[in-house]
Symmetry: C2
Subunit: 397 residues, 2 copies
């Protein structure tokens, strides 16, 4: 625990935001920092949850413990709706209370004796949980990296995909696509390379597809679209950004039967044991909501909300591009990744906050590879997007 730096990135930003409000009580703050959904959940989904909750007060509708792995109906619906054609079965899907929680459960499974690789920059939870379970060495002040963790650089110069020819072998590769924070989605060809790399090295890929619903082009929405991926990959995903469930809490993890340790033992059996021992299933009310998200009308309604955020992202991309800045992401992800060459990302973050009252995230918070960048979230109301764009144009023009 001592090895972890001062704070977790997002609570840290909340603190700075809070201080800013104290100093500027009359400013109209726009929060494009923490990627938190803002649009109401379609009522076909909330009604399903409300009805499930109401039924719990009846003898007929009351339910106690459910299966730790989730209701089979929901597991089947996830497989059929989101993994059609990939061969992923309902029995390989473990429903959870969110992707972040499953990352730490996976880390409990992996333990301290494995070596991990992460994209740099990337979502901080991979590295932070690695440090907690003892997979890393010390934080090196000079580089800002933990020893014993492999940082796979993903910058504009390599099109946000790591150079695997120079990447050392690790037991585990955390890979997030569409990437948080860069907003970049790996192509089929790139993911094929990654799967082949893992296969050659006997590595397990932990693939985070929490933003898959935002993909607009031909990029795969799941690692399991790649042939052979079931032998090397686990996929973590979530209803948070897909259906506005950030506060409602629902996610899932796919552990394919084909994935085995070098001794031939199936990983799914160990993960099942972790889920039964360290978790007791996602809330039954919330699972009813998840099922409604995957109904025909629910799915359409949820996709409409995703489209709304994607339109927001387009507005942000246009605003920053019009200022002559290099802008990445936004097309396949609700995040826009803006380059400020030669500048410190915390300085950019502070300047934007002070002068425009817009909260962003300094890229440095996602790893050394995020320096010179800021992440801007498209999760907000449309009028905030327009207003934030105006303020940026005034500041940087």
């Amino acid at each position: 625990m001592e090895g972890l730096r001062s704070g977790y990135l997002f609570p840290e930003i909340s603190i700075r935001e809070h201080e800013h409000i104290q100093k500027n009580p009359n400013a109209r703050l726009i929060r494009l920092g923490i990627g938190d959904t803002t649009q109401p959940i379609p009522d076909i989904i909330t009604t399903a949850m409300a009805e499930h909750a109401d039924a719990l007060s009846t003898t007929r509708g009351y339910r106690g413990y459910g299966a730790e792995q989730g209701n089979m109906e929901l597991r089947m619906a996830i497989a059929e709706t989101l993994y059609r054609g990939t061969g992923v079965k309902g029995s390989e899907i473990f429903v959870s209370d969110g992707a972040q929680c499953d990352i730490s459960r996976l880390q409990m499974l992996l333990g301290s004796n494995v070596k991990v690789a992460v994209q740099d920059p990337s979502f901080p939870a991979y590295i932070d949980t690695s440090v907690i379970v003892g997979q890393s060495g010390k934080l090196e002040e000079k580089t800002g990296k933990y020893s014993d963790i492999v940082y796979m650089n993903c910058g504009a110069e390599n099109n946000f995909f790591p150079d695997l020819s120079t990447t050392p072998r690790t037991d585990v590769i955390f890979f997030c696509s569409p990437n948080n924070p860069t907003g970049s989605a790996a192509s089929w060809k790139q993911l094929k390379q990654l799967v082949d790399f893992a296969k050659t090295n006997g590595s397990i890929i932990v693939y985070d597809s929490a933003y898959a619903a935002y993909i607009s082009d031909e990029s795969p929405r799941s690692i399991f679209e790649i042939p052979g991926a079931k032998e090397v990959a686990i996929e973590i995903s979530s209803f948070s950004k897909f259906a506005g469930f950030t506060g409602v809490r629902l996610g899932w993890t796919v552990v394919p039967e084909e994935l085995k340790y070098s001794n031939g033992f199936p990983v799914i059996e160990d993960f099942n044991r972790i889920v039964c021992t360290c978790f007791n299933g996602a809330s039954n009310i919330v699972q009813a909501g998840g099922l409604a998200c995957l109904s025909r009308d629910g799915y359409q309604a949820v996709c409409n909300v995703v489209d709304y955020y994607k339109e927001n992202a387009k507005i942000l991309v246009e605003a920053f591009a019009s200022l002559g800045l290099k802008v990445y992401g936004g097309k396949n992800a609700p995040y826009v990744w803006v380059h400020f060459p030669g500048m410190s990302s915390w300085n950019v973050f502070n300047e934007i906050l002070e002068k425009t009252h817009v909260v962003t995230v300094p890229g440095r918070g996602f790893g050394p590879g995020g320096e010179e960048y800021i992440r801007v979230s498209a999760f907000s109301h449309r009028e905030n997007m327009m207003e934030a764009s105006l303020r940026m144009k005034k500041l940087f023009r």
Copy 2:
């Protein structure tokens, strides 16, 4: 992971139950095994959850991420309703998705370099999570115990409280009261001994009070009723058995500010970091239900359901006692702990299942100290209690 035995106890029992149904398709099975609540949740509580769910479809009522530690209103209500007079503050309460989940998060915090003690018998999750994070040595076939874990024997001969004068020092002591499975609640005097023991040894007590609502006598409902406990104890608890939330999922953990490592660093800061990194808060819908449980009318309604189960427990105690068997528990807990001297608990379990179609839990599943016992759960409908009692009387008379 390899160090864990075949399966987790409760899924194991489900499998045996399933096999029994296959063989006896017409038998009317009564499930008094897994301690799973059966009575509807009072509608003042389900209505609060349904209203919260409905509001999420409105611009005004929508909420995204909440605080990882839980809504402060709920944290305050837990402190004021359940910890009145103990000095526990809302800021020391971390709301979670259940006690079992918090046990594993605590184990992530503790890591592999600590030595733990557990009551024998006890709820299997303490030992199983210890094995997962690497605190234990191998399972010794002869004793049925893991090396490097201290088993504190709690049997009828010591009134289900360990002999601390012969208990070796450990870094952590898992202690569950009212105990699952024995149903025994430690007295004030016993808990004072435990706190003093921990203080002398510099140990942390992880106190599981998930069944506190079932206490009928003067036994403390929280370790924090003992002076000085805030310097040595963490308390884990849950809405599962208190409010029928087994499938709804809500719990909490108290980490007092006064609890410090030997180097003076407050444990609460590390636990907060774990919660922010490995967890994303309990479902906001469910938290609204928790708050309703602690309202004046909600609390009364929930207590009425607890009383119903306590009446069930009384029926079970009387039934087994009338057969001349030694029966423990049932007064301060929803579990009855029945002694079958000289017999194997799995044999007793199997015999009862085969001949009466009643599912119980073999005491051996809770550790070597549970041999010769079975646990019978009072969580069921009244008519099942009456029927199970009748069948037992026929079998053992």
